[in-house]
Amino acid sequence: MNRKQKKMLTRIIVATLLMVVLHFVPVTGVIRFLLYLIPYLIIGYNILINAVKGIINGQVFDENFLMAIATGGAMAVAFSGNTDDYTEAVAVMLFYQIGELFQSVAVGKSRKSISALMDIRPDYANIEHDGETESVDPDEVSIGDVIVINPGEKVPIDGVVESGESMLNTVALTGESVPRKVISGDEVISGCINMTGVLRVKTTKEFGESTVSKVLELVENASSRKSRSEAFITKFAKVYTPAVCILALLLALLPPVVLMISGNAPAWGTWIYRALTFLVISCPCALVISIPLSFFAGIGGAGKAGVLIKGSNYLEALSKTKIVAFDKTGTMTKGVFEVNAIHHSDMDEDKLLYYAAHAESASSHPIARSIVKAYSVYGTPEKSRVTDIEEIGGNGITAIVDGIRVAVGNAGLMEREGIEYKDCHKVGTIVHIAIDGKYQGHLLISDVIKPTAAQAIADLHRVGITRTVMLTGDAKSVGESVASELGIDEVRCELLPEGKVSAVEELLLEKGRNDMLAFAGDGINDAPVLARADIGIAMGSLGSDAAIEAADIVIMDDDPLKISKAVKISAKCMRIVYENIYFAIGIKVICLMLGALGLANMWLAVFADVGVMILAVLNAIRALSVKKL
């Protein structure tokens, strides 16, 4: 609790004690009124002052005004009606303040827990000058400076490791709890926490351009992009408060006048009391506070899971998503080539890879690299064992390894060498291997599907996505096989980058009026498509400025499961938002009617105001928990 809240708590306690004491004091008339005025002023003086200030500044009809009129009115009615029951007016003020205090504490708590999630802002950087280190403001470090990061410290600025070796905790950025190992030459991203070793890092960006600054900027600006529900609430509050005040005035004046005209007693006291009750019920706080809080909590919860949502409008749109389009390479697949299978080989796997890797050891072709990588579990190729390397452009390589002639390449190479080979029915790049003029089988090299991709698609279908579409620049055979393996509904292949944009435009025309279309891509090549879709989701974008700028939602690691998780988070958040809207307005309307009919007293009115608000705030905070989704 901060100073302001503690002061309020003291006021609440003092006023409550006074009320208890006054209950046993047997005085009547003016003295009783004056005595009760003491707790009333203690608990409500700021409301009364603000109400007066509001009127002076032309701000009638705000909450302070409502409370001042309602409780002041109740005091006056009790005094003039000689009922001497001032408890109600003071209690109403008391409960209103308790509610305000609770709201302030609850909002402060959730604000704190969300900012703790985003507690990645580094306070200092250890800059190195001639072997000495000095702590400075991260802003003062320029590009190319060397900074030292000790274990337990945050990486303040993006850079490349000069020396040192350590494990980095990226959980605040990605939600991924497995630490990442870095050695010299690796890039490090600001916002990670250095866990084990001392790192010397040469900075590659200024602090303001570093990942941590970009991410913080994004999070801090998130709730300024308002959703339609929030805009609705703001507008609603603007119309609602004056409307209720006018209704209350009519309720106080019309029935007595009608009664007078028809010759009955006007019963002013009763009707003014009803009007005041009406006013207390009417405070729109529950809505005005809980709706933005729900979105804030939802965005905070998503951030905790490594999904950055740039505004509550996107959170809202995401919950209405019916079509999800994906890029293939880098989104559903790892985007790296790997030896996936070895077929028709009589030789031992390690032996075969030994020859292939040695023959390919001098080549920088991605296929060659993937073969060397596959061999790396057994060892590193020794270049001295290889001679007479000959690259046959577009076909492959021949070389002498340990004095034996090895040919590694495609069908064309085998035909050239006059060696009979077996074709493969699997999709991917086939590399045939012949050793000493004899066919020894082939390697299947293909892009690897991410382990969670299939589950991600299944999850999306389960949470109400009706169409999943894969857009890829790859060949038809590759695209279709990946799509069918993952259970993706449709696939469009051999698309150029512009083709992806027009494919998304076609899909936009086909969707329903209120449905949304999301596109998930790796963010670097897909920027135009990300911009064109209703919601652009950039994946694996840690450290990529382009992706953070172009997308509406940024998934910090490259796990496709996070796409379905983001949809689930948005659905939960929107469910809470609607619950609160219906609940708050529903209870208010019912209580307003009861109040107008005289069935509700001020106690119920206070519940309708404060109680509904507390329940709505508690409900809103639920949006923060996203673990089990």
Binding site: E63, E100, R111, I114, E220, N221, S223, V288, I289, P292
Partner: protein
Amino acid sequence: MKKTYPIEVDCANCANKMEEAANKVEGVKTATVNFMTLKMSVEFEEGADPKTVMKEVLKSCRKIEPDCEISF
């Protein structure tokens, strides 16, 4: 020019009202108040002096919300 200032305000509705009031001040191009992070970001008109403009902003915010605070 765009600057962000920490603010103190108690309720979300008041924050909305502050935003409205700030936007009406001369020299302010756009102002957004973020109740959740308690920040006000103000984009100033060309040539406006942030200090004098912010004084006006605080003055008009105090009118609608006497308890509010802007640190600049």
